[in-house]
Amino acid sequence: MQLRSILLRNWKGYRRTRLRIPPGEATRNVVILEGYNGAGKTSLLEAIQLCLYGRSGLPLLARAADNGRREASYDEFLERGLSIECRGRPERISIVLEFADGGSTIALERIWHFNASGRHRPRDEEVRILAGPEQDLVELPDEPETASFVRDFVTRELLPRNLAPFFLLDGEHLDQMAGKGLDEQVQAAVEAVLGAPTLKGMATNLRDYARERRKQIPQAIDGITTALAEELAGLEETERQTIAEVDALVDALQPLRSERDSIVRRIGSLHGDSYASFKALFEERESVLRSRESQQDELRHLLSGELALALSGGALRRRAIERIAAEDRAERWESASAASRSKFTEYLEILRQSNGVLSDELVASLGEAWEKVWSERPADCASDVRFSHLGETDRRSVAQHLERLSSVKSESIADLARAVAAADLRIETIEREIARQRGLDGESQALANKLNAIQEQIASAEAEHRLRVATLESLRARLSDKHAEADLILTAAADAAPILARARRADLYAEIADRLIEAALPANLDELSRTVTGAYRAMAHKSVVERVRIRLDGAVELLAGDGADIREQDASAGEHQIFALSIVSALADLAGRFPIIMDTPLARLDPVHRRNVLEHFSRRGGQLILLTHPAELGPHEIEILGDRLTGTISIGRRPEAVSQAEPAEGAV
């Protein structure tokens, strides 16, 4: 797919401009849009991002970083984007992007209207789409469906929003990516390529749908005891509160972790070579802490769960299982016996019709004979009901649970306890080593103190987070039981069955979406590792890295020929940038046919990296559009591009030249 033209009206410095991008092919695929500082390179990238995604494109923009006020700042950002000459009368900004893909073309136009005071309101936005060989106008649904239709169209035909940060890049975002560290970069990329945010959103919507459907059965709700309904409502409210608490903790942790990483890097920059080992120690401590936490959870779970029940002993469990079976047989016999009595009544009626009146004595002896033949109580039925709390399904699940308890093993519990103790020992050793390295000088000591304080805040927030997540899981298990209980009652009210079935299906699909994310992750990691390796080796200085391996837990290893992980030796800022670009390249290869558009991506790289990056990205084959300052690309770089360069377009004005961008010929 190629971007063929960009039409801008009243957007920042562009009053009425059409940029025609020369058509390319697989071996002539690079276009340079060149401009001095202030010429409008970043404005051009912003125009593309906003045209594609509208309001949801705002977080992609480096110059609109006020996430806390996103809703308001979108309108304000647009108001600031309206050309100064247009202020004082009703006006509009219009951005049109034209794409060609094989024989078909797509033109996407987004228009924002402004009143005479230069104000833009959320509803004052229009979208038009022309598609197909005849450039037919695509019919859009009415509000409120329009936005989701456009979003789906852009996702399907152009570029999903979650992949945009990897295709529409500016130097600042690249810096942010590179600043995250290798593991976090990979995690963000994998989530993006699998569409995990979309799937997670879908699962939430489905669960909301199921909840709403269940609320729509008032006549059946009447059938549930008031206490159960109140308990369900209470649990759901607690679940909502707990989710909000978990989200708030995640939000609070993010800046703390960023600050911690930044201090670790600063300490590293003070100590040169010792940085790598310091960082490695720090990361190892984090990893051991995490794994100890999960082992402890498992151990506690086993001790107060299965082991506690199993302690009751095999004899009692066996008796309980046999009793359950005997009560089950008794219930089935009772049910069969009732059916038999009804048949006996029919039989007597037939006899009366053919023989007239039957004496009481005859009826009594017939009854006894019938009972003997058809429904004599078997000896292995329970004579009374001890487990009246168990229904038919409960009997089965409790018996299975009791059977499973026979397999509790001491080794697994003891192994877990030993693993926790070993982790404690390792953490102590690492902390001693960290303390030794921290004491190198006054400045690093000050940083280390700050690091300690932040680490304590993180540890406390993480502990709180774990607690809340555990509470949430337990709540959900209880909710699931209560819903099952409520569903049973509701199912008895047969009229409600279709609605309930839809709610249950929605819950099931939500569960599938959750599992899909878990299952898809490992399947994609090998391919991602392979593609990142190719890109990294092509662009990095250090050819000593033979292979990049992305492990199942998202951790990244840089492996030398002998299989050793040499990641700690590859921790320079430049190498992190190269790794970030490798991820971009890998995702472009794996997940998209959209052009890669980069705004001043090379400025922060040294000449060798710069040439490697140009060479690698230009040889990928897909369209590559570089928004650059003239100083970024010297004769050497242009030489590397060679015949791959389709054209260079100047943006804005410079003293000795005039923009090659044309005045607009007309809108879509």
Partner: protein, 148 residues
């Protein structure tokens, strides 16, 4: 009226104060985050004896209460505890109050048995856990006291 599963989940349960203090001590020794951890182990331990327990209250009185849904969990776990307690009691209908007393008595007896187990294991976590697992897999019940 016999105790239903809802009674069990919503009811409050307590044991003797001395047993409750021992429960707290176990919570710390085993690194368990909740009171119900040692309490469940105690219930299981006491259920392994065939005789019925009695709640021995001394001058210290009763310990703190715990909700049934915490002590026994929920869903199939809750139903399994109720099944084992009723089977052990050999009763078809246990009034709610009697059931609470029964649980308190099992808890009391079980926590003291666990304490004997802990001492016999030399205060070693691994040895203690191995001992409990051995108890769990024993096919025949003891009549009055735990093997030590």
């Amino acid at each position: 009226m016999s105790a239903t599963i809802v009674d069990l989940a919503r009811g409050d349960f307590r044991t003797s104060r001395a047993a409750d203090e021992l429960n707290t001590r176990f919570q710390s020794l085993l690194g368990l985050p909740h009171r119900y951890g040692p309490a469940r182990l105690a219930l299981g331990r006491s259920l392994a004896l065939t005789s019925a327990p009695t709640l021995e209250l001394n001058t210290l009185g009763l310990g703190r209460q715990i909700k049934g849904e915490q002590l026994f969990g929920h869903g199939v776990e809750l139903a399994t505890w109720l099944t084992l307690l009723l089977e052990h009691a050999g009763a078809t209908a246990v009034p709610r109050k009697d059931f609470q007393n029964l649980v308190g008595a099992h808890w009391h007896r079980g926590i003291y048995l666990l304490w004997d187990d802990w001492k016999s294991s030399g205060g070693e976590f691994d040895a203690f856990v191995a001992r409990l697992v051995q108890q769990a897999n024993r096919r025949r019940s003891k009549t009055t006291q735990a093997a030590s």
